[in-house]
């Protein structure tokens, strides 16, 4: 089973949920990331995800496996969009099924946190004033020392 996918098509959260149905599970937790109409005081019109797919899929699968192993959940999946997205489009979905809810909540949170920190995915926001911005880069450029930091785990 392919647990982590990158897609250029609209994500259907309901179809996604159905693939995780399991009669041994009493709990299902799903996180949806939606395209938001604002960021740091700017009106956002749309956004674009650039994804380095070979590594995103591989690292996404590693994160899913880590979550299943660490929290003992029955099943977990993730899907992330690439390309151009409009407001309220679904950017990412993570779902976890488990006999009990505590593990499902923790595993779902772990997967989305790690996905945002580790996958080679970049988000460019298009603003009302005509400007665009690679999210995260702005801050790194302004507030941190330039260049990679050898020895650090390099996570924002």
């Amino acid at each position: 089973m392919k647990h982590f996918e990158i897609t250029r098509q609209a994500i259907d959260p309901d179809a996604f949920r159905k693939q995780l149905l399991d009669p041994s599970c009493g709990a299902y937790v799903q996180f949806d990331g939606w395209v938001r109409n604002h960021n740091e005081g700017q009106r956002v019109l749309r956004l674009e995800y650039e994804v380095y797919e070979p590594l995103a899929v591989k690292e996404g699968q590693i994160i899913i496996d880590e979550a299943i192993e660490r929290f003992g959940v029955t099943n977990a999946c993730g899907v992330h969009r690439s390309g151009l997205l409009e407001l309220s489009d679904v950017a990412v979905v993570v779902g976890v099924s488990s006999p009990h809810r505590d593990a499902a909540f923790r595993a779902c949170r772990y997967i989305i946190d790690e996905t945002k920190a580790r996958l080679p995915i970049w988000k460019k926001e298009y603003y009302e004033n005509g400007e665009t911005e690679w999210v995260n880069c702005k801050h790194c450029g302004r507030h941190q020392s330039p260049g990679p930091e050898p020895g650090s785990d390099a996570r924002t």
Partner: protein
């Protein structure tokens, strides 16, 4: 000197104006290679908290580089 293929993504690609280049370098690690590339492409210095991969595996900045490695420089990621 080693031949290394370097690839730039997202903001790095826009800063350098190129998606990839092949360099002949004495750099022993991705950190040294990045410093070297930043001399030619000043825009690379604008961002930290970057990630690096070698031959499609996530790596760290102190891994030893080998002949014909493909090094991927990732600016700060922002999935989700």
């Amino acid at each position: 000197m080693k031949n290394i293929k370097v690839r730039y993504f997202a903001a790095y690609r826009e800063e350098t104006g190129i998606g990839s280049e092949t360099v002949s370098t004495g750099a022993g690690t991705p950190a040294e290679l990045f410093a070297e590339c930043s001399v030619r492409h000043a825009g690379l210095q604008s961002y930290s908290a970057a990630l690096v991969a070698i031959n499609d595996e996530m790596s760290d900045w102190n891994t030893a580089l080998c002949e014909d490695d493909e090094v991927l420089f990732f600016p700060p990621v922002a999935g989700g």
